[in-house]
Symmetry: C2
Subunit: 338 residues, 2 copies
DNA sequence: CTGAAAGCGCTTACAG
DNA sequence: CTGAAAGCGCTTACAG
């Protein structure tokens, strides 16, 4: 059997209380005692049992993160940001994939109410599950990017109106005015906000927004392909398109190639989020950068603050976004010249 | 405070023993009792405390998976396969990212020795950490894809020689004989095996393997770019290249574009693994499919068997791979005609 | 500085 | 079918 603390205590000829202190709170025991206990622990290969410890101290030092499928290049950076911040503060992070079914989601969320984790980071709000529906969680929770619980459950996010605004202003500054938008999944609040932001930004730039230039990219990669094909089949094609995310923009770029259109000479494309697929596309995608690692780290720190009962947790933290010019946008005249 | 089982027992006027049975082992109590206890539990919002339960029953029903960075499109499917199988059998999975440092890796691996998880799936062997170095784990462990512990620690993997063989035979059947290879990270055992497999397969096909046609794609995306540039700067360019993985092949494809070479008309490219980036490339990448979800599920099932003490766990499970023809390979004469 | 004791919240032989 | 009791492996007041 695995040695326990009482084995160590016996070997070191001290009480379990002292053995515990020597190992977890070294300052509380005499030098010699500490040494003896440590040696005993080593000699028998003692490892502390964290579940016993958790039961006793009433915390697990573990965070849960609810995430949708991660195979889309958006979540990994968020996860790493969370993990970095958490590990620094002595927390372990457990990730639960919730896109499969509401049942899966529930079984993960139960880990919080069942005391297996101390707090929860919800970043699957964009997948449309359970939105605004459940009661406000009474255990430490922070939302990432999409708000799915009413205040005062904190959110860490970006301003999606600003994302759209940066994209539209960039395109407009290049002389484009027939600008299209491929919207993201209707289930994602942020996609809706980017769409609204697109309309608002077009207005602010004094540009007309034509209904048929706003298409839905719902349906993942295939949806993106179809959306772009629809746009290119229009009698009056757009000269530029703002895609709600980089994956959609990559899909759009592929459609351009299959139809023999050059990007950016014949048409300008801009994405959003700044994910790896855009960076590695050819040509590399111009996009609006979303600081995912920062968002993750901020959210994790906030959650840990909540768990530790620190006051003054902001309930709405908005991080800045910025334009990342790469190679898929060109001045309108280039298209005209082509 | 959170209600405990004894609160429920009091409300239902039974002993905690009975309350426990009514909730966790319903058949053991009378109908009326069961109903009363359930009602009591609901009325006070009782949730079982899983850490107390774990301490008592001496298991956590949790699996740990050690994974390197996941932002490369390879790991998500593996993770999903693991999670599916695990959830079906009542296990929760905890994932630990280990690429940051050996310290991070250790702190995750400690979760196993510290009793927070029942078993461990090691799939970060390709990142070169700690290889063959640590003692054979004495707690339930299974390795995924790369062997980093000596037998009999089980492995679930593919035959990387076969991966290379399928690729080379495909290229050779298209008439290519000046075939190059861009190798994966030298730290990854499977990359080495693919490289050796390439040499063997070339031999089997009666093709010469020229030293300068085998280059290292070490260094991630940038490494891939450089490797391909080196190949294209050769006096005698290859007419086809087998890239150790799809990301490398995508990098190679970008280099071709930047140099004005058409794929597959001017040069054929084949990858391996069949990841999303290859599927979404333009043109879609021909590759060797590796059944990642199956591998994950198989490994998880094996691990759970180990945990439950089932005998007969195979210590080396090899899953089949297959060629996935898409659009980046063409007959040699096409290149000649060009 | 150290030890005896209580207790975290469950489950499960053992009796009845 | 139900209850009293022990115990999983720790930590931490409380005394000394």
């Amino acid at each position: 059997m695995r040695p326990t603390l009482s084995d160590v205590a016996r070997l070191a000829s001290v009480s379990v209380a002292t053995a515990s202190r020597a190992l977890s709170n070294p300052d509380l025991v005499a030098d010699g005692t500490r040494r003896a206990v440590r040696e005993a622990a080593n000699s028998c290969g003692y490892k502390i049992n964290l579940v016993a410890r958790s039961l006793r101290i009433q915390r697990t030092d573990t965070l849960l993160v609810l995430t949708p499928e991660i195979d889309n290049g958006f979540y990994p950076a968020l996860l790493h940001g969370i993990e970095d911040a958490a590990l620094d503060l002595g927390y372990t992070v457990l990730v639960g994939f919730t896109a499969k079914s509401e049942k899966h989601r529930q079984s993960y969320a139960d880990l919080l109410s069942n005391g297996r984790v101390d707090g929860m980071l919800v970043m699957d709000g964009g997948s449309g599950v359970n939105r605004f529906t459940g009661p406000r969680p009474d255990l430490p929770t922070v939302q990432v990017l999409d708000r799915i619980y009413a205040p005062p459950v904190p959110v860490v996010r970006v301003d999606d109106g600003e994302v759209a605004d940066l994209a539209v202003r960039h395109l407009s500054s290049l002389g484009h005015h027939r600008i299209a938008h491929i919207a993201g999944s209707a289930a994602a609040p942020h996609a809706l906000e980017r769409r609204n932001g697109f309309v608002a930004a077009m207005g602010r730039s004094g540009l007309p927004v034509e209904e048929h230039l706003m298409v839905s990219g719902d349906g993942g990669w295939e949806g993106g392909l179809q959306a772009m094909r629809r746009l290119l089949s229009l009698p009056q094609r757009p000269t530029a398109v703002f895609c709600a995310d980089d994956a959609l923009a990559c899909a759009a770029m592929n459609v351009c190639r299959e139809q023999g259109l050059r990007v950016p000479e014949d048409i300008s494309l801009i994405g959003a989020n700044d994910t790896q697929d855009g960076q590695r596309a050819y040509p590399p995608l111009t996009t609006v950068h979303v600081p995912r690692a920062d968002i993750g780290a901020t959210a994790a720190n906030l959650l840990i603050g909540l768990i530790r009962g620190q006051p003054g947790a902001e309930s709405d933290t908005v991080l800045p976004v910025e334009l990342r010019e790469r190679a898929t946008c060109a001045p309108l005249r280039a298209a005209v010249a082509a």
